[in-house]
């Protein structure tokens, strides 16, 4: 039957059409998703009809971060205890950046990794200028941000509309955020504007990845504690130059060599010995970060070269929080020379009470180094050896011993 020929043709054509039309877009290649250095200028010119500038990190802070910030008002002030009138000191500030006009860019390589849990919704980028490190913290509301912006990845951020500020004196790229956490310890002292986390979708929209990550391009400054304290003030001098020096040193990627854990912690400005209790019940247990009962402050554990001391700062939420300090076990802490070596990490200076600084209440324990992990968990930043030359193998606290 002639007319059925058409029908047969239609029937045969249908599966062919199906096969031809139902495929997904092709898979993306590296070149598709990472911006190449060479094409950067072209892209940024197109994005910024009024021109653009890529600031070095220090230049960026010098240009946009002011002493008092430009955001808070009398009716809606910064958090209460961040200001001290004696030296007109602001520990918490926010400076918003212009939304319009020419493009304000910064770039740097990610030095942090949040896998082990010591960094949470925060990262640090590093830029090498004339062989010297410049660093900046970035506060971003992105869980597991290290899965997207990985260690060694160079990123370029368009900062227009964002803010730069100081959180407990630590400079960071941020947005203004009003703290109204009524469940916090001393909540009424913490209420007010503060640098807050950049919304994840906003951050992803303004951030480009330049090339693929390369951890070998990260610069580590290897120092003894004496060398470190020769460069930075052990006790801050609350004048403009002194504060600037501290702020620019914050975020630096360092290897502190020739140190060991003393088994001590910072007990409100004095050092005290860790105990051997269960880390669920004692905040002073001899592990990296026992419980804070969910207050969440970083636990400090002392490293020393025999002369100087520095805090090694760790989160109770980190994966290695309940691992014994090198040289520590169920029975206590054995000090040097059993385990000594280096602690790598991000250098920080944290002070959220302006009055302490103004009143000279500092004990010199405001500086800390935050490792990104320990051997076997994240980046192996704590490396110790004993007299026999054996490497330190992290050992976990065992509840059965208690």
């Amino acid at each position: 039957m002639r007319k059925s020929i058409y029908t047969y043709a239609i029937l045969l054509a249908m599966p062919v059409v199906a096969m031809l039309t139902s495929c997904e877009p092709r898979g993306l290649k590296e070149d598709d998703v990472f911006v190449q250095e060479g094409s950067l200028d072209e892209i940024l010119k197109a994005e910024n009809p009024e021109g653009y500038k890529i600031y070095s990190l220090n230049e960026f802070l010098d240009t946009y971060m002011t002493e008092k910030g430009n955001f808070a008002s009398d009716t809606c002030p910064y958090r209460d205890r961040s200001y001290d009138s004696k030296h007109d000191l602001y520990m918490f500030t926010v400076d918003t950046l212009p939304t319009k006009g020419s493009g304000i860019y910064i770039r740097g390589r990610v030095t942090t990794d949040d896998y082990a849990g010591n960094f949470y919704k925060a990262m640090v980028i590093q830029q090498i200028v004339n062989g010297e490190q410049q660093n900046l913290r970035i506060s971003v509301d992105l869980g597991s941000a290290g899965g997207m912006y990985q260690i060694g990845q160079e990123i370029l951020i368009r900062c227009n509309g964002l803010a730069v500020g100081r959180y407990a004196n630590q400079p960071q790229l941020c947005v203004p955020s009003y703290n109204n956490n009524i469940y916090a310890m001393n909540a009424s002292q913490k209420v007010g504007w503060a640098p807050g986390r950049i919304e994840s979708s906003v951050f992803q929209r303004v951030t480009r990845m330049i090339g693929t990550p390369d951890v070998n391009k990260l610069q580590y400054d290897t120092l003894t504690l004496s060398q470190l304290y020769a460069e930075i003030p052990l006790v801050a001098v609350p004048d403009a130059a002194g504060m600037d020096k501290i702020r620019k040193a914050d975020g630096r990627l360092v290897v502190i060599k020739g140190v060991w854990f003393t088994g001590e912690f910072d007990n409100n400005g004095t050092l005290a010995k860790c105990d051997t209790l269960h880390p669920d019940s004692s905040s002073n247990a001899n592990v990296f970060a026992p419980t804070t009962n969910n207050v969440g402050y970083p636990q400090s554990r002392v490293i020393s070269d025999g002369t100087n001391k520095l805090m090694c700062s760790n989160s109770e939420y980190s994966k290695f929080a309940y691992y014994y300090l090198p040289g520590a076990d169920r029975h206590g802490v054995t000090e040097c020379p059993n385990w000594r070596g280096s602690v790598t990490g991000i250098l920080g200076w944290y002070e959220d009470k302006a009055s302490d600084l103004a009143d000279g209440k500092q004990k010199g324990y405001e500086w800390s180094v935050t490792p990104r992990g320990i051997p076997g968990i994240g980046v192996a930043d704590v490396n110790m050896k004993n007299d026999l030359g054996e490497s330190w193998v992290p050992k976990e606290f065992d509840p059965k011993d208690y």
């Binding site: 092709r26 898979g27 009716t75 419980t291 969910n294």
Partner: protein, 1099 residues
């Protein structure tokens, strides 16, 4: 007009013979219902379209002829006494409107399947029974509103194909995608109202549908068609060939149907981000010889289609469209949807019918069906959540912490009240800080909503703008970033898990079924039917990798367990190293948990084996004034889980149980598997791919129904139906965490632990139901009115959700759920002159929970649920009451009414317009939000809840002796509910039902009553061509008024907003915060105006 009849004086009785054929083609119409209106006697036509009615009274009679796909015909006849009256052939006109509507309905039902396992959030009923005025005028007209017959869930409806049960044994639902686009395969069906006597199964409280696919039903010839639509797919072409019954006795029908849509990236239109490809085939052959009949049927429809998701009202408002779809993004400049369903349901059926003699016939049928059903989804490990509509990515997240404490609500001067926008119920921003300092003025955001002064205005508006402008990187999946994360990871961590993968979740079903039916009419007035059914199903569940998205490999570990491992170790008294296995989805000594592209199954790989047997017996008595029937059924069900993977969480839970020397520590494996695993573990010989067989569970369920028809006269009758039955829980609700372990909810028994047969009945839902119908049938007007009542007790339901108090994924097993369904259905169809018919239908119901439920919560990975405040002991399982009593069921609108005006011109013009009104439609409640402990501070098991609605300083309602009962809560509209507390006889606080609870159940009905109306219209034309050829054209327009405010369904998110109270230990630190709408409800909306245009050419 009287039709001339040829009277043959052969017998001394009055009878009527005739034949029903399709107009123009002259093809016999099989299965048409022929009714004599005055005598209230009916029969159906046989394979050659013929019918015979015996033992009639001589009189003037109206012969009503109804058949699927045809317009009903009414003929007048003068029946002469004591002879066989022979009618002229009854010519039926095809109802092209109904045919098109059936097709739309079938597709709608398929597209509605939204979740992983093809379960719909709000599936429409797809059956229409053309012979019932109510059903034929509601199934399509009310489908947009997701009306559900009598408020039942779809799993109480029985779906059969040629007498074989095709409802899923795991979930009880029918898989429409098996017949995707095959409008001819699904054309003929018998649909029985709830509880009525049926001849293919026992039936139940829901409708019973039996699809009839015998080839002899199809008119001889070719049919080719094309359709265009703006729904999820855009076009369809199809072709059907039917041989008709050939001289050899064989009849063959074949259909191919192809539906397609390329990816759509026009934002805001229906089907945004969706592609659709489906090729359906249907082949049926029938041989008729002597008094025997053999049917062979096969069909299937390989389909690939994109999905969309329900989102929160905020997202709908920001994007300005009900069609926003968060599942897609641009890849290489082209649309890519992360959720692609692939389904294919090859089915084969064979039936044999044997007419033993004029009074006995039997039918045996056997079928086999394999259902491949899978959908893809993004999974991620140590990487940011890629969903664009994740709550943290939305502007409203900036409000978190800035919402006022509801208990300060009386101090109105401290607050900024919302501007009356009802769909932003979160409303109350803080106006002063906790030190009492005023924060100044709020501002109106770019989305027109008032925002509090402590929200960062610029950031807020910036984000709103990105959403409003549909910025690709903000509102869609960012495939570039996903690939970049994986490539970066390949460099930094080449042996590690990819950060993102596209996984494919398979939920296959393999089933074989058989049935035997025997009918005997030997005895006067009595029809006896005996049926036996058997079915064996396997639900097959596993995951594979669809696309590594540039990553090197995937490591098969569970992200939740991995994250919680420190706490899991601490809680159990082990080290993290001791329990490193807990995170593995498969533990085997010879397996490294590395999965490559196109590699092995991962995540989970288990089967649920289900056997079902049912025997039923039915007697139907027919007398002059009264018909009676009663039927008895007995059903057996069993289910047994087998797994090919020893899951790390099952291993962990068993390890803990062993450690504590529980005597039932085997429950997570099953007894035999426990021994096998323990031995293999000890020998270091746990092998990948070993099948571990879990416990078998048994259920026995009786059922009884009866009914009576009282024929007042030929035109008026009363019908009564009643039923009592028990129903075993579906596997979906029986296993607490079937992907992980073998444990089942309470009251489900194995051979070993059942003490008597009664135990096999303990877990079943008990149901009684009855309905009473008055039916009338006049030449001008016909219709019915029915009152129905159903009560069920002891239902079981399982939920899984992320619990912010336990901070992990929790399974919640609810038992003891009682429900009541009562209401009235009414329909009347009035002929208005030659061309017009006016039909009114209405259904007003009240479908609600009549009890609270008992819920047991346990963490999927074995985390503690809470901690005893006094002893500090960890509590791994909490039991609480879920305050459901009085709440409405969320099974579609409970008030429905429509008025339809139809036009039919004998020159074959068709048109109709329907206006429908729907109301009393309620949001599905999340049980986690209705736990008694949230209102009283104490769970049923006596454990304390950390943080209720409100905070520590709330003005709690106290009894005279200082016992805190309830604290104020905020209603959805922002007003305060003080939850008037009363004490029951035992002194336990209870809530007044239904008002307090009811005021907190959200209505889905649009605020403006005008937006509760929907208008549909269609117009069609059938053109007859020479040589029995014809062309039909039909245009159906749904939601003609473009009502974009019509919510069709939705659900409350189970998560509750909580905050950590600093300085408190562990489980005592979590409190509910004032931002009660941090995780707002998600909704589905009806599509705006949409059309379906079909053209069919028959030759």
């Amino acid at each position: 007009m009287f039709v001339l009849t040829l009277s043959v004086a052969m017998m001394a009785q009055t009878s009527l013979k005739g034949r029903v054929v399709a107009d123009n083609t002259g093809t016999p119409v099989v299965g048409a219902k022929v009714t004599l209106a005055n005598q209230d006697i009916s029969t159906t036509t046989n394979a050659t379209g013929e019918f015979t009615l015996l033992y009639l009274e001589a009189m003037d009679e109206e012969v009503l002829v109804e058949a699927d796909g045809f317009i009903a015909a009414l003929e007048l006849i003068n029946l002469q006494a004591d002879r066989t009256n022979v009618m002229n052939d009854v010519l039926l006109q095809p109802d092209i409107v109904a045919q098109a509507q059936d097709e739309i309905l079938l597709n709608l039902t398929e597209e509605e399947m939204t979740d992983d396992e093809g379960r719909s959030q709000s599936q429409a009923s797809s059956s229409s029974a053309s012979t019932d005025v109510f059903n034929s005028n509601t199934s399509f007209a009310w489908s947009t509103a997701r009306y559900r017959n009598r408020g039942y869930q779809s799993n109480v409806e029985n779906y059969y194909i040629e007498g074989l049960n095709f409802s899923s044994q795991e979930r009880g639902q029918f898989n429409y995608s098996a017949m995707g686009g095959l409008n001819d395969a699904s054309r003929y069906k018998e649909v029985l109202n709830p509880m009525e006597a049926t001849n293919f199964t026992f039936g139940g409280i829901g409708q019973s549908t039996n699809y009839l696919m015998g080839a002899s039903r199809y008119a001889q010839g070719w049919k080719v068609g094309a359709a265009g639509t703006n729904r999820n797919y855009k076009a369809r072409v199809n072709a059907t060939y039917s041989s008709g019954v050939m001289p050899s006795g064989w009849a063959v029908t074949a259909q191919l149907a192809y539906r397609f849509s390329p990816y759509v990236d026009n934002k805001g239109i229906i089907g945004e981000g969706i592609k659709y490809y489906s090729l359906g085939y249907f082949l049926t052959a029938e041989k008729i010889w002597d008094n025997k009949r053999l049917k062979l049927i096969t069909f299937g429809a390989p389909t690939e289609r994109g999905q969309n998701a329900a989102v929160t009202q905020e997202v709908y408002d920001l994007t300005g469209s009900n069609n926003y779809n968060p599942y897609w993004g641009y890849q290489d400049g082209k649309v890519r949807n992360s959720r692609i369903v692939k389904s294919y349901d090859p089915t084969v059926i064979a039936t044999f019918e044997y007419k033993i003699d004029e009074q006995q016939w039997l039918k045996v049928a056997a079928g086999y069906h394999y259902s491949w059903y899978s959908n893809s989804a993004l999974n991620f490990y140590n990487a940011p959540d890629p969903r664009p509509d994740y709550y943290r990515n939305l502007p409203s997240f900036m409000w978190d912490g800035q919402i006022a404490n509801p208990n300060n609500v009386n101090s109105a001067d401290l607050l900024f009240e919302a501007d009356g926008k009802t769909h932003y119920p979160w409303g109350l921003f803080i106006g002063e800080d906790m030190n009492g300092k005023s924060l100044g003025s709020g501002f109106i955001g770019n989305d027109g909503n008032l925002v509090g002064p402590s929200v960062n205005k610029e950031q807020y508006n910036n984000l709103v703008d990105l959403w409003k402008n549909r910025d690709n990187n903000t509102t869609q999946i960012n495939w570039d970033n996903i690939y970049a994360a994986n490539y970066a990871n390949n460099i930094n961590n080449p042996d590690g898990a990819a950060r993102y993968i596209l996984e494919r979740r398979h939920n296959d079903i393999q089933e074989a079924n058989a049935s035997f039916n025997y009918v005997n009419t030997k005895y006067n007035h009595l029809k006896m039917t005996l049926g036996v059914e058997g079915k064996y199903s396997q639900g097959i569940h596993y995951k594979t990798i669809d696309d590594l998205l540039g990553g090197n490999q995937w490591i098969d570990i569970d992200a939740f367990a991995d994250r919680d491992i420190k706490e899991l170790a601490s809680n159990s008294g082990f080290t993290q190293e001791d329990i490193a296995n807990v995170r593995k989805n498969e533990i085997a000594d010879d397996y490294d948990n590395v999965v490559k592209a196109n590699g092995r199954r991962f995540g989970y790989d288990y089967r649920i084996n289900m056997a079902n047997a049912k025997a039923w017996f039915q007697n139907e008595w027919t007398f002059n004034e009264v018909d009676l029937y009663y039927a008895l059924a007995f059903e057996y069900n069993s289910m047994q889980r087998t797994t090919n993977m020893l899951n790390g969480r099952a291993w962990y839970l068993t390890k803990i149980a062993d450690e504590k020397t529980y005597n039932n520590s085997w429950i997570y494996y099953g007894k035999d598997a426990y021994k096998t695993i323990k031995a293999a573990e000890a020998a270091g010989k746990l092998r990948a791919g070993t099948t571990y067989v879990g416990e078998a569970h048994y259920f026995l369920d009786p059922a009884f129904k009866f009914g009576a028809i009282y024929k007042i006269n030929g035109r008026n009758r009363l019908k009564l139906n009643a039923l009592a039955e028990t129903r075993a829980p579906y596997a979906r609700d029986a296993y607490i965490s079937q992907r992980v372990h073998d444990a089942v909810v309470k009251n489900i028994y194995t051979h070993d632990n059942a003490k008597s047969l009664v135990d096999f009945y303990a877990a079943s839902e008990k149901i009684v139901s009855a309905d009473l119908t008055y039916e009338f049938n006049y030449p001008i007007v016909r219709g019915r009115i029915t009152g129905f009542f159903t009560q069920s007790w002891n239902g079981t339901e399982l939920n899984g959700y992320y619990d912010d108090e336990a901070r992990t994924f929790v399974n919640q097993a609810m038992t003891g759920i009682d429900k009541r369904y009562m209401g009235v259905e009414a329909a009347a169809s009035v002929k208005m002159g030659t061309y017009f018919t006016l039909t009114g239908v209405a259904s007003v119901g009240d479908y609600r929970y009549t009890s609270d439920a008992i819920a047991v919560q346990s963490a999927e990975n074995g985390m503690p649920m809470t901690q005893d405040m006094t002893t500090k002991a960890l509590v791994f399982e909490t039991t609480d009451k879920v305050l459901l009593k009085g709440l409405k069921l969320s099974t579609g609108p409970q008030v429905n009414a429509s008025l339809k005006l139809s036009f039919f011109h004998p020159k074959m013009w068709f048109a109709d317009i329907t206006v429908s009104y729907h109301d009393w439609n309620y949001l599905s409640v999340a049980p986690s939000r209705r736990m008694q402990g949230l209102f009283t501070g104490t769970r049923l098991d006596g454990t304390a809840v950390n943080g209720w609605f409100g905070d520590d300083n709330a003005n709690a309602i106290e009894t005279s002796d200082g016992m805190v009962l309830l604290q104020p809560t905020i209603n959805e509209d922002g007003s305060v509910n003080y939850n008037n507390a009363v004490l029951d006889a035992n002194g336990v606080p209870v809530l007044k039902y239904p008002y307090n609870i009811m005021t907190m159940q959200e209505s889905l009905a649009a605020t403006n009553p005008l937006n509760r109306f929907l208008i549909d219209a269609s117009v069609g034309k059938l053109i007859y061509l020479p040589n029995r050829q014809s062309v039909s054209i039909n245009l159906s327009v749904t939601n003609l008024g473009n009502n974009t405010h019509f919510k069709t369904g939705g659900y409350q998110q189970a998560r509750l907003p909580r905050a950590v109270r600093q300085g408190e230990k562990d489980y005592q630190n979590s409190v509910i915060t004032a931002n009660a709408w941090k995780y707002p409800s998600k909704y589905y909306y009806a599509w705006g105006v949409n059309f379906f245009l079909t053209v069919t050419y028959k030759f």
